[in-house]
């Protein structure tokens, strides 16, 4: 057998856990040579997804989503604000992901790091991107034009980080939004403020479910679905394919897309195919509870 690293002459005696830490690339290569990943998955296999709804009573809507070990809790809290001059008939959606120090050894307390910032930005884009088929209609969040509108604070907390936080976050976010019940609100012209009904609550209308599937390319040779925290830092390329209710496709790609011999565009086609099947699975997870 070929020695992938100079030190592997002694690797026979090395504990696999220590070996995976010292030579993560070689470790992953060896697994992939026999078409498996260290987690026991095949390269094309995604982790099972689970969604639990409404466990947090202090939020107007909440959900917990798990992709394998990665666990994200999402809570939606609604507040009221005066619409901006530019969008008098629109409310707000404010998604923020927190990767706190509890969720993994490499996260430190303090303001959100780069990864959390990028992820929050992507969640925001996902919510407002499709102008005609937004996830939440911002117009419907308006209570009285130029006077009052709902602000949906969508806060996500990762409590266990094992890679692919974005896919898990979207799942948690969509589930929490579908779980959200807003108090029935009306504008009181005399008091010049919004009055909410204590008893009546209306479900928030979620009109589109864009679902992402993330893939990674390792060493320009292997396409790995739903990478975990061990694989993530070793990947050259990340591809996220987002499919919505109308079958519309959004692709985000960072890095070179070729996979040994296959053309870059074909790789993306392959991912879209796989994402279609994955979307069905994730929709089942969203509905399953």
């Amino acid at each position: 057998m070929d020695d992938p690293t100079p030190s592997s002459s002694s690797s026979a005696k090395l504990d696999p856990e220590i070996y995976s830490r010292l030579h993560p690339r070689a470790y992953l290569e060896r697994f992939l040579a026999s078409s498996y990943r260290p987690s026991g998955r095949t390269p094309a296999a995604s982790r099972p997804a689970q969604v639990h709804l409404g466990s947090i009573s202090t939020a107007d809507g909440s959900a917990l989503a798990r992709l394998g070990e990665t666990t994200v809790v999402c809570g939606v809290k609604a507040e009221l604000a005066e619409p901006d001059a530019g969008g008098e008939r629109r409310g707000w959606v404010v998604p923020n992901l927190d990767l706190p120090a509890v969720c993994g050894a490499r996260f430190r307390p303090g303001p959100p790091g780069e990864e959390a910032q990028v992820c929050s930005e992507r969640l925001f884009e996902l919510l407002i991107e499709c102008k005609r088929n937004e996830v939440i209609s911002l117009e419907e969040l308006c209570i009285e034009p130029a006077r009052a509108a709902w602000v949906l604070y969508i806060d996500l907390v990762c409590i266990n980080y094992d890679g692919n936080a974005y896919d898990a976050s979207v799942l948690a976010m969509l589930a929490a939004l579908r779980n959200t019940r807003l108090p029935k609100a009306r504008w009181d012209e005399d008091k010049k403020r919004v009055v909410c009904s204590r008893k009546e609550r209306v479900p928030l209308r979620v009109q589109n479910l864009p679902i992402p599937s993330t893939f990674g390319i390792f060493d320009g040779q292997h396409l790995l679905a739903d990478p975990n925290a061990f694989e993530e830092p070793l990947l050259d390329t990340l591809i996220t394919v987002t499919l919505d209710d109308r079958g519309k496709v959004g692709v985000q790609l960072a890095g070179p897309a070729g996979v040994s011999g296959i053309d870059g565009s074909k790789v993306v086609g392959q991912c879209v195919q796989a994402a279609r099947a994955r979307r069905k699975e994730l929709l089942r997870a969203l509905d399953g509870t």
Partner: protein
């Protein structure tokens, strides 16, 4: 100053100012807040603690971790270390390790949204938890290194009860991480309502009480780790409350021991 606070490049920000909804009717009669000192406690007896669910090993990448759920109080605790600490300016060599506790609220964890970065409460609560844990941790066993205890609150109902829950979760997680302890620290809070002690008060109950106290102790050694008290209480009243807290702590200690024993058995079975 407010414009500076709102200008946060690291987060998605909404409007400059937003307020929680205002409801039409005043709180209904069923609301315990309506009468300041209700005679009867709703749903449970005065000397009962809300049922606790405690689980270890939730976060595999941490040295030790726990998840605690106590009706509408939910928190996650992770312990990392002993590990190397970033060099603090001016800190010399010490043959004792450091213990840092940091407690954080998720923005959706309270009835009013907690905007990130504008919260001084979590710092104060972190210190209370740290004060309770410090007498138990054998810091001399990890010189120069540090143990980090991170607590993340997903849902809270009563801050005094939260500190006690956090202490229980943290000391169980420390034991799960294999950090040497003199004993497990557990805590119980109590409120003085209508001439009686109500253990483990919820937020509303604590607000309606004449005084509130909390006590953390090491039942294995029979020593008290920390005590705090607020409100208008006589010395005998405090003494009576403390006694009841101590009794409840013994039960909590049994629970934590049982959870740790089970997780240790599971771990032995696996290897």
């Amino acid at each position: 100053m407010s414009t500076l606070q709102n200008f946060d490049r690291r987060r998605i920000t909404g409007p400059d100012k937003s307020l929680p909804p205002v409801y039409d009717s005043s709180p209904s009669a069923a609301d315990p807040l309506a009468s300041p000192e209700p005679a009867e406690r709703a749903h449970r007896s005065p000397s009962s603690v809300r049922p606790i669910f405690l689980q270890t090993g939730l976060i595999p990448s941490a040295s030790g971790s726990t998840y605690l759920e106590q009706s509408s109080q939910k928190l996650v605790c992770a312990v990392y270390g002993p590990r190397q600490q970033p060099k603090a300016a001016g800190a010399g060599y010490s043959d004792r390790g450091t213990l840092t506790v940091s407690l954080k609220f998720a923005p959706f964890s309270s009835s009013r949204r907690r905007a990130p970065n504008r919260d001084a409460e979590d710092r104060q609560l972190s210190l209370r938890v740290q004060a309770a844990l410090e007498p138990a941790v054998r810091a001399e066993t990890f010189p120069k290194a540090g143990v980090d205890v991170f607590l993340h609150v997903l849902e809270s109902d009563g801050l005094d009860a939260l500190v006690c829950g956090a202490v229980l979760a943290a000391s169980t997680a420390l034991a799960d991480a294999g950090v040497e302890l003199l004993g497990l620290v557990v805590g119980c809070s109590a409120a003085w309502v209508g001439g009686r002690t109500w253990l483990d008060p919820s937020e509303q109950e604590a607000r309606g009480a004449r005084g509130v106290m909390g006590l953390t102790c090491l039942p294995a050694l029979g020593t008290v780790a920390s005590v705090w008290q607020t409100g208008e209480l006589g010395l005998e009243e405090v003494e009576q409350m403390a006694d009841e807290c101590r009794r409840a702590c013994d039960e909590l200690h049994h629970l934590a021991v049982k959870v740790l024993l089970e997780s240790a058995k599971k771990r032995l079975g696996r290897s």
